[in-house]
Symmetry: C5
Subunit: 352 residues, 5 copies
């Protein structure tokens, strides 16, 4: 067993400047996540119920990560004693790095759910992919934690490497599965929404790459105070990018797709949708029960019957895709006419 003979990464004696820098990066990341939590909580109604799970996943992620950074901040604050002009670690300092895994255990699976919630997969296929990616994400983090902290207290280089590789295998699956889901989805939404979705995927999978790099630091170098500060700053920045940056892009996709559904008559939404002060769709209230009934009696059928998941909806989605593409290639007048016609005939074609 190839055991480290240096202190564990988190038990460094920190000079004032670096100590303050780490506290700054931890609390700033926590504040950013808290702000995003408050934002998501108060803007969820901007997104239609169809894509609402994306916003709710982002909200839960922000809530959990905020609490996690609270724990990290308290541990960093109390884990070091100012002795002779430097900060020396005490027993609490052991818990200044590994609690990040606890956060990730819950939030990384939710991040994949957030991404998939604005993709175009539906029904059993969506559920199965969501289940497999969330499980892979959970195992990716759990194996990383076991290797770096539990087995031989993270002091065994071999364990660090072996479990790191197992963890990476789950990452590889995630990479392939999510890229695939996104690729097959962008064609069924507007160009703008598709672009934001691709950017969000890049941000997510890109920042996911930061974590193994930082994880590997203790394998390759003797961790110094500067390395520890670098690890903490990198983790904090990556968390903000992967959660807040990614979340803002997903929120935009969800709003654009909500507007597309309203415009296509697929759904109603009681608020108009604006993105960067550009009007995307009108507010449309649902019909009242009286309106629904009178429409039924006059033969202008508005179908309120549930469509069970067993009924394939792909034909319709294909239709919707064509419709959106068409519009974006410049025939906006025609597209609008089509949109109106489509909305009106949807109930007939959609449920056959």
């Amino acid at each position: 067993m190839d055991v480290f003979d240096t202190p564990t990464p988190e038990l460094q004696t920190m000079p004032l400047g670096l100590y303050d820098l780490v506290f700054y990066s931890i609390v700033a990341a926590g504040f950013a996540l808290f702000a995003y939590f408050v934002y998501s909580w108060n803007s969820k109604s901007e997104v239609g119920v169809r894509y609402r799970p994306a916003v709710l996943a982002g909200l839960c992620i922000a809530g959990v990560a905020s609490l996690s950074y609270l724990v990290l901040a308290i541990k960093w604050d109390t884990g070091y004693d100012l002795v002779g002009g430097v900060y020396e670690p005490n027993a609490e300092a052991r818990a200044t790095l590994y609690p990040r895994y606890i956060d990730w255990t819950v939030t990384v699976p939710l991040l994949t759910a957030e991404l998939l919630a604005v993709c175009s997969l539906a029904g059993a296929k969506a559920r199965s992919l969501r289940f497999s990616t969330m499980t892979a994400a959970f195992l990716m983090i759990l194996t990383g934690f076991l290797g770096s902290q539990v087995l031989a207290q993270g002091r065994d280089v071999t364990a660090l490497v072996v479990w790191g590789l197992i963890s990476t295998a789950f990452y590889a699956y995630l990479y392939v599965a999510l890229i695939g889901a996104v690729r097959s989805s962008t064609s069924s939404m507007s160009v703008e929404a598709g672009r934001s979705l691709r950017n969000a995927t890049l941000v997510l999978l890109g920042t996911f790459g930061v974590y193994p790099l930082v994880y590997a630091v203790p394998v390759f170098v003797d961790v110094t105070p500067a390395w520890l500060a670098g690890m903490q700053v990198s983790y904090s920045a990556a968390d903000v990018l992967a959660k807040v940056g990614f979340g803002v892009l997903i929120h935009k996709v969800a709003k654009l797709r909500t507007a597309e559904d309203v415009a296509a008559g697929v759904d109603t939404h009681p608020e108009s949708v604006w993105v960067s002060s550009v009007h995307q769709s009108e507010a449309v209230m649902p019909s009242s029960q009286t309106e629904v009934r009178s429409t039924e009696f006059t033969g202008n059928t508005v179908d309120a019957a549930p469509v069970f998941a067993d009924h394939p909806r792909r034909p319709h989605e294909h239709h919707e895709t064509e419709h959106l593409r068409e519009r974006e290639h410049g025939h906006s007048d025609h597209a609008r006419a089509d949109g109106v016609r489509h909305g009106a005939t949807r109930t007939a074609t959609d449920r056959s």
Copy 2:
């Protein structure tokens, strides 16, 4: 009196890796429960008022369990002192296991209420079953607590066994009563909702089986640090499954049944219902007072009179059941027509 001569289970000297693993499992479970709390709070409007009690029960469960895990995390964090490379328990460590009973005292009765709220029992029968199962659940936990912690401070094997058996008797009642309620309910909902309801019941009653197993550990083995870690990890995992996993399934049943009610004209719901991106029902606003009145004057009676619980509603429910079954056996066009007709004639047949 057959008293233990080993330390109580929770007072083990823990090596670093196991100590961190338990902290990880407690905080991760707490984060998952908190995420579910945030999710339930913000998604309750997805479910119609009829099944809302299920979501509210899940929300209360998540809130209480989050607080409970906060207590457990604090006690685990402060209950052990790092001395010579191992964590030694102090007086606080006594409260790292038994506070789980406090959580369960409140949450297990609520879990049975959550399950029953999406079943098809109504009125006095529902109230009576709810009362008896909630009482049994409460007593199941209370007797377990008394046997394991209060009487002879949980050091008497006989008390542990006797009270464990009494507790198990309540569990048996719960098992029979809940299975019965679910069985009699699935026929009155769609196949998909019924399947999810059965899965939810399996998850709940299955994880309930984990608790007595862990409870019995100190009876059969000398608790070692590894056993203690296993107990804590098992309890944490079981709590997440029984509360979050179960809750997500119940939420789905509630959404599907909401959609069925809207489609059948039994209720309105101001949001459309989507499950895994599959459209289940349109959004339908209630009629306005003016609409209600004008409908009354034109003889097209929309009845706004209350139906008191004393009036049996079984005929209608039976009707609804047939209607749903019919649709699912492939006659979807016919079913939809029936749905419209049913909705229109409901006010006449339903209140006679």
Copy 3:
């Protein structure tokens, strides 16, 4: 002055089992109250604005009581030191009983307000009774506190008895006033609502009787650890019954009365009302301003003018009562017709 020569009740040396039992009962009661707080917050829209004050009172009660139990739990946790296998009280232990009075000072007046908010008194009469009962409830608690804690530090038996009797006098007034209000109200609501209201009153006044019994314990017996544990468990159980149990019953009365108002056309409510899966009233949206105006122009007057409190409404309420009674004696078809007619003509008769 007849002064106690034993320790004050709260300063007992507690064996492990009893200490844990008290912690269990305090935290379990706190969790139940917190769950009820979360429930009330998220279910308030189930009740119409007319009876909303009842739900808001319950919500405030639950919030305050949750905080109070947080204080009690912290004091109990920190107020005893584990020395030689038993828990010995320290200075903090002084505050493990009397903070209950602080909670009651705020919550008991609110409980009377909660009860009165679903009774049928209105206007000046309601305000006057609410003021006198809230004042009596406040003085009942304040005098109890002064006698048991402030005067001679609660060590003077005479003070305990004298102030206990003064406090009891306020209780007697409350008893008479609340019973009277409930009696005069049940006739103006449905049988089911009336039954729940009577049950709620029994629960409230019944549990109120527990408090003086526990208060009197130190007068009659030397308080032992078992007595103290009994006092704490009794207070906790009584608080849960008087706040949560009572509140759930009042919530049901408020929902039933809301449904009755909607059915009678007295008010609108944007959600349907369901109690134990039984449908009580349809959802009815308010008319829009345009609808209101066009109705006015066509002579089908919908009166939007305010009715000032000075205008007696008793005739109408009497009418409503008869209407409800009639329906419940089996003439449901007739009652419905009457309901429609009543709803339509209300604006003419009601505001004359």
Copy 4:
């Protein structure tokens, strides 16, 4: 310089009974304020948007004051050590009185805003009075704080008196300005609303008188434990009266005025308004965009154009006043007719 040679008021050695009484009064006041915070948060939709700022001011006041009492309770709890049967102050005890000024610095200006928000001033005049009274209120508290705590650490009798007088001058301005605003407003609302507004003003300005009395205590008497307890109880009671009692009255005025606006057709409100179970106005939804447009085309102009603040609205307000007065002198039938006519013609006369 005439410096005190006795301990500062807050540094008294307190006997048990008085110590508990102060803790009781601080926590009870904090609980009452917290209950009012929860109440305001959940009842804000009862009041129309026009008077909503009053409710929001009350909500912010309650939130800030709750936090302030949390600080006071913690300081009182930790600021005294139980030594030999009495509570002796430690360094923390210095912060058991002056943090009240911090609360008041924020809440007293908000109290004047709360009062003005239900008065009848509008536009630039309202903004200017709001600004001057909020500034005066801020300076009233700031100067009191400087005199009693900062300058010579509050140990200089002259500073106490001089700054007390300066503070009183601002109080005098507030008194005159607020009385004036209320007097000029009551004529434009119903008798009942006006009466409640006058009561609210009395409560506010009356309790404001308590503060200088308590402030002056150390000038005239040697502060004893009983005096300190009296000061703390008085401040706590005054805070509850001035914030909760006042707020409940303002809430009632806001509800009554909301009902008057709905009845007069000046505004819509999606909930009916009930005060003490008396029905004040129907719920009226806004017209839909389609309704607005079709009304426009048929010449029955509903004006949706904004009225900028520069346009004087007094003629209309005068009209509204007469309308309300008229109704209250018994001509209710006529008043209703007038109300309808007024509502219908408002858009024509109001925006000219």
Copy 5:
């Protein structure tokens, strides 16, 4: 390297009065920010979805700043020990100034977003300016923090000056960019909204000037207790002005612009808009899906198709501007007619 030989600014021995003054200013600012947080949370629905991002930015700012002041208050409270009648700093006192940078790192970028959200830039241009100003604001704070705290622990005068200048360069960019955005926007809104927007900009950029002044204090003077108190009071006052004062003005602009959009038929809003009791716009509900469809069939096209950001909207915005200006130059009757016509024809001209 020109290193300070005096204590760092935050490590002063403070006399009682100044110590209390700083505590007062920190907690009062924290209370004001918390009140603003509560206010924003509960008033967000007053602003239409188009300008909602401004309110959400303000809400997040208030939340983060409240937490930051909580940290500052705790550090100030625990960072000084009362020894011999003065407060002497301990190790905690190091964190009584620099945590302000953490708050600013998150809130200053959000402040620029809040300002831009009520300006008239839209689409790609808005996104690009928002990105560059938020980045500049972030770097302005980060470089300030590095210079004053991290590099040579803020003890090197040269570093303080050099990094201060770099930070100032970002400030200069912000100044120019924001002034430009505001200037180009005021012409497209009403005079009143434009005036408030200009005031808000002045408040923001003005208070931004306070920070470098305070930052430079240690460069030019030996920091004394009075200077430290002055720095803390100045920072606290500037934070309240720049966040609460600025936010209230932006909230007003957002409300006025919402009212303008409703009046011009550009958007609906379910609440009427009142500013200082002056009525700005009627409440208008969105059309229901049935209304939308029937309008479509009758040729009175209400277009619900999304307008993608790529389509330039400037013509329309220009039109809107003229429309508003016209109205404000006194032709209110004409303007209203124009407004109606504009609203009716918008769907035709707007989407071409």
